[in-house]
Symmetry: C2
Subunit: 198 residues, 2 copies
């Protein structure tokens, strides 16, 4: 039998999420994650540097999706349209994975060192996004990239706090930001628009 396990990475991620949720992050060893996945510790360390990293294994995949979508937006799209397409693509990709995302979010929220790692991973997105926005000729790529990530993070936070539809939350956050920046929300407490917000 071949020792090559094509789905080792995914199996390790699923096993880690299960065990962290069942018995706690601090109480779970790399050895037990590997055992649950039917793999060796050595295999674990071929994929992940430590038991924190196994929670962040999909960040670079999401980053690629974001960056590629922005890069491939039509030439006549404005920078904001390109960014909106990129965030929408990530949201649409995540939506069917909501259950795992909720479990993961609960584990991360309970551990300050995981929250710090999460912030650091997400802030890496903005570096990658800045590069592709600069290639599109955006004037302040760093500002737009940081803001795009901030918008996404807010929508994501609402999603893992109980709201259902991540793509809709992202669209709403983008629209609300546009309204605030253009000053069209100068009348506070406008009743018709607040109903769908927390």
């Amino acid at each position: 039998m071949s020792r090559w396990k094509p789905d080792a990475r995914r199996r390790l991620q699923e096993a880690a999420l299960e065990l962290y949720a069942e018995q706690g992050f601090a109480e779970t060893s790399v050895a037990s994650v590997a055992a649950r996945a039917g793999l060796t510790e050595r295999t674990f360390f071929r994929y992940f540097a430590d038991k924190r990293e196994v929670l962040f294994g999909n960040e670079s995949e999401l980053q690629d999706l974001l960056v590629t979508t922005v890069a491939e937006a039509p030439e006549d799209a404005t920078p904001w349209e390109a960014v909106s397409r990129g965030l929408a693509a990530v949201a649409t990709h995540l939506q069917p994975r909501r259950e795992a995302a909720l479990t993961r979010a609960r584990i991360i929220a309970a551990h300050p060192e995981l929250r710090e790692r999460e912030l650091s991973k997400v802030s890496a997105w903005s570096g990658a996004l800045e590069v592709v926005l600069a290639e599109r000729g955006v004037r302040s790529p760093a500002v737009v990239a940081e803001v795009a990530v901030a918008v996404f993070r807010t929508a994501f936070q609402r999603w893992v706090s109980g709201e259902e539809d991540l793509p809709a939350l992202v669209r709403e956050a983008l629209d609300d930001l546009a309204d605030v920046v253009t000053g069209s929300t100068s009348r506070p407490h406008e009743p018709g628009r607040r109903s769908h917000h927390r």
Copy 2:
């Protein structure tokens, strides 16, 4: 002689910054920071939990300034104007402290665990800002707060990377964001506006 040192906190911060810059963050002990400040280790721990925290001692002061300025903006100011005033106040406060900020930024940039702590501290600003924006009746306080912090972080990064004028950098970042969001930068590489950017 009284054992009460009114400026102990500031002296510890200055001593830490000097020693971290001179001999390295990892190589400096709490004992040597206290000694340089002419204080005891016990006094150090009355002000700071560890040798990382001494670098982040002013975050809450800046957060207060931001939040108070936003809260006290004129009633007829739009949310975006209120946020702009808050960020301007923080930038104006920091500008005369540029040399210490540069030293501090170099130390933090060299240590991933300090960078993670920095991200985590700055993200706390957005929580506080969200509360005060909600009080002003802003529709999506979380989005606006996260975005405001993202804008500030970008300007701050340019400032500690060599640009001179933080208040101007903040104004520019706010203006550029408004342009992008309103779609007025759909023509890439507009020559007259790029000259002052990196």
